[in-house]
Symmetry: C2
Subunit: 156 residues, 2 copies
């Protein structure tokens, strides 16, 4: 039985792409703060006071994973976690000054890193790159959470 060519397997390519990114991140952005951690900081800059679950939704992480990431950021003093007085189940999250400062610093470095990462592609190719990846990811996610069909109005 013949072996397959992994270069034609999108899953394999996706993994390699992430490894490549991880490598550049470590050398050009930060060895302390990871890319998912930065994503969380960024979500809280955009919308301070979000609860854990919603942050996870914004950055694409499930409840368990977001809990760990947030716990690490809390331990480093980059965000605060307080019970929502309106809803005792929720924790409301807010960056500390230190957290905001870290976000600012990493935003600059991240932009530089992205430039290097995407340098092999022309501007037009970069646009296509984003578009194709996004379409594939979104479609796969649809299969998990089928949106309510808009075709039949009786669905509402």
């Amino acid at each position: 039985m013949a072996a397959v060519d992994l270069a034609t397997h999108p899953g394999h390519l996706a993994r390699r792409l992430q490894q490549a990114h991880h490598l550049l991140w470590n050398t050009m952005v930060s060895e302390e703060i990871t890319s998912p951690q930065f994503a969380v900081l960024n979500a809280l800059v955009a919308e301070p006071g979000l609860d854990q679950r919603t942050v996870g939704e914004r950055v694409g992480l499930d409840r368990s994973t977001i809990a760990e990431v947030i716990s690490r950021l809390g331990r480093r003093g980059l965000l605060d976690k307080v019970r929502d007085p309106q809803d005792g189940r929720r924790f409301l999250l807010r960056l500390t000054d230190e957290g905001a400062r870290t976000h600012r610093k990493l935003t600059v470095r991240t932009a530089r890193m992205n430039q290097v990462f995407l340098a092999p592609l022309s501007a037009a190719e970069q646009t296509v790159f984003f578009d194709l990846i996004r379409r594939v990811s979104d479609a796969a996610e649809e299969l998990r959470n089928p949106a309510e069909p808009l075709t039949a109005s009786k669905a509402g």
Copy 2:
């Protein structure tokens, strides 16, 4: 300070792409064997008797990670590990019958899964998709392991 749009961050997109793939893999291919594990099986179908390090190189995993993956496959009886009589540092790896059978079964399912995964893209777009991801990944890896420069012969 404004937050950035993660949709323009290739690292974020790469992570989402892998999550999407993981989801499809779990539902359409296997809940026992993971995608990296399949990659190892596949490498050993192509080249039986490889040592650990080389398998890792083929599938893009470092020494530590490949050791864990191989240990799991060994525990499940999908491959055998024997000391290289010629070089006492190496372990030579070979699939068991069960391992070869598993590879055959998953090869079929993986092909189906890839079709579904890539269905949002036209055939032409799929080609571009592969090409762009590969170029970005390869370029980043170059930065880690600079190939010997072919331009100036004085470099040697």
